[in-house]
Amino acid sequence: MPGVGPGSGPAPHPPTSGRRAVPPPGTLLTPDGIPRLTRPRSGSILGGVAAGLAGHLRVPVLWVRLTFVLLAVMAGSGVLAYAMLWIFVPQRPDGAGGDPGAPRPAGPRERQQAFGIAAVGVAALLVAAALNITSIVGWVLGPLGLAALGAAFIWREADSARRARWRRTAAGIVGPSRGSVWRLAGGATLVVGGLSVFAVGQLDFTAVRSALIAVLLTLVGVAVITVPWWIRLVRDLGTERRARVREAERAEIAAHLHDSVLQTLALIQRQSGDGREVLRLARGQERELRTWLYGPTGYATASGSTAPGDAPAMLSAALALAAGEVEDTYAVAVAPVVVGDAPMGPAVGALVAAAREAMVNAAKHSGVGEISVYAEVEHGTADVFVRDRGRGFDVDAVAADRRGLVESIRGRMDRHGGRATVRSTPGEGTEIELTVPVASGDGGPPPAPPASADADTLQPSEGLPS
């Protein structure tokens, strides 16, 4: 197996030289401020010991591996050193990725190299065995060697964060994947088998049988006695974990509020003279926080935190986004109300684009600060109403020369089989109605009574308010 750098045993503390003036961010430090020897999380062939050492000593990783192999041939001290380092050198925590020289994922070439080195080591060992030092080789390659191999399997499997958990609760042993279970079982078999064979070979089994039975019984007794303690341990762990989750959640909320609300409030304090700007900032912030809290993928919903920057997948989200943009750009209040929803597609996309255009027009020309937007998806059509109570205009009079407004909206609608209706009365405001057909399967089964019948009578069941 690949070997170890300095032939000494565990060496968690590096040489105290001043070679590393400024440790990279995220490096573990000793209390004296010296960077700690750690094993990288990625880029390791076996346990990451060689890579860690190489990074720490700033020598090529190949040299370290060769040294380990060389030492391994010398009565197995390399293997021992590697194992000790593996056990005692901590793995670099998550997120502390900035390793000085090593942390790239192990490429196939490096992997090949490492296996080559290991093969050379094994060959050298065999040669040494054939020459003379049979007793040691028998010891190393015999049952104990197998046991060590099994232990290595288990440690490799249980490495990383899982190892820490494993030390505390037995449930941590079983990894998530099938493969890891098999590796664990194989490793355990090797360890137990190797040790047993070793014991049988070394000892007169019949002589120690009663002793073994006594030991077994003692172990069982200890297990039974400590059951309450185990239960409490597991329970405490659960409590602690829950507390940690809550704490992390609080921290996340605090961080979000700091990033968003506090920053905006600070901006508002500085801009307090400019009412329009304050309004714009406050509106934008309110919308952002609301989305974060209550949005379709918002914080308060089960699906967890939202990923900003994605294109919205549903009509309601796209419309809200467009309304937000218009709000921000023109400092008007846009209040979207959506009933039903539809997935985005070419037609719905055109609908949203046209609605955005209508909002922009209302913001620019109506002269009022508030625009109502109502969208509904029902019976195979999606309708959007954009309405303002502004100055309004005469629809027939404008059509001749100012075609931009109606073209960019009506043209879009026409191309997607929809239509746009503009209703405007000078002095009373404007309403633009946009309609496109949408594919069914958006959650709205069509068989239902028409939404607007002309009956002007109350149904018998409807009485006066209670």
Binding site: V337, G340, Y374, A451, S461, L464, P465
Partner: protein, 219 residues
């Protein structure tokens, strides 16, 4: 109703209570007068039970259960007391929950003082106050997309076509009198439709609500 409408504020933020009070006072509207305020569910329940005002402006999010808890404590005992929810949240589940618990209307805290005063006077007069957003939620809640399976009492749980029409115009941002003009009916009829929608919202069964909420991943 003789004399000004007596208004009581319930909100756990003292600053907001003061703000509303000041704003209503600045309007110098002789149609209403603020007679008291409370900062917690317990205080509100105790004081409202002793001296009931005409209209309670009720915050939705408070410790100890919020506006819904106040409604649950008092709505049965004091059926004459009118609640108007005033919340910073316009999340669907909040709106629907307090309306079902018995609030007569729901407005958000971004409402202007003038509109708030109008809303108070309107609910005091027995009318329901719906914001466009609220109308949207109700339409959504009652929409027939769930099919008939969940509806135990169709007479109660479905909105009449006319009511839907009124709600849709409300959601589009029309005022009551504009709706009346649009539909060629009287304002009084519009108010009757809206109030009956409100009654249905309050009385429609919980099963439908929970189904609706689950569909929308609200719970």
């Amino acid at each position: 109703m003789a004399g000004p409408v007596r208004v009581f504020l319930v909100d756990d933020h003292a600053m907001f209570r003061t703000g509303v009070r000041t704003e209503l006072a600045e309007l110098a509207d002789d149609r209403l007068v603020v007679v008291g305020e409370a900062g917690s569910v317990g205080e509100a329940v105790a004081r409202l039970a002793v001296d009931p005002p005409d209209v309670v402006l009720l915050d939705v999010h408070m410790p100890d259960g919020g506006g819904r808890a106040v409604l649950e404590h008092l709505h049965e005992r004091l059926p004459a007391l009118v609640f108007l929810a005033l919340s910073v949240s316009d999340a669907a589940e909040d709106v629907i929950a307090v309306i079902r618990a018995g609030a007569r209307g729901y407005v958000t805290k971004t409402i202007s003082g003038r509109e708030l005063a109008d809303a108070i006077v309107r609910v005091a007069g027995g009318d329901a106050v719906f914001s466009p957003r609220l109308a949207g939620f109700v339409l959504d809640a009652f929409s027939d997309r769930h099919g008939p399976a969940a509806v135990a009492d169709p007479e109660l749980d479905l909105l009449s076509p006319r009511e839907r029409e009124v709600l849709k115009l409300l959601a589009r941002g029309y005022a009551y009198k504009e709706i009346a003009a649009q539909l060629f009916i009287s304002v009084k009829t519009v108010e009757t439709h809206v109030s009956s929608v409100l009654r249905k919202t309050q009385m429609s069964n919980r099963y439908e609500l929970s189904r609706w909420a689950t569909d929308r991943r609200l719970v």
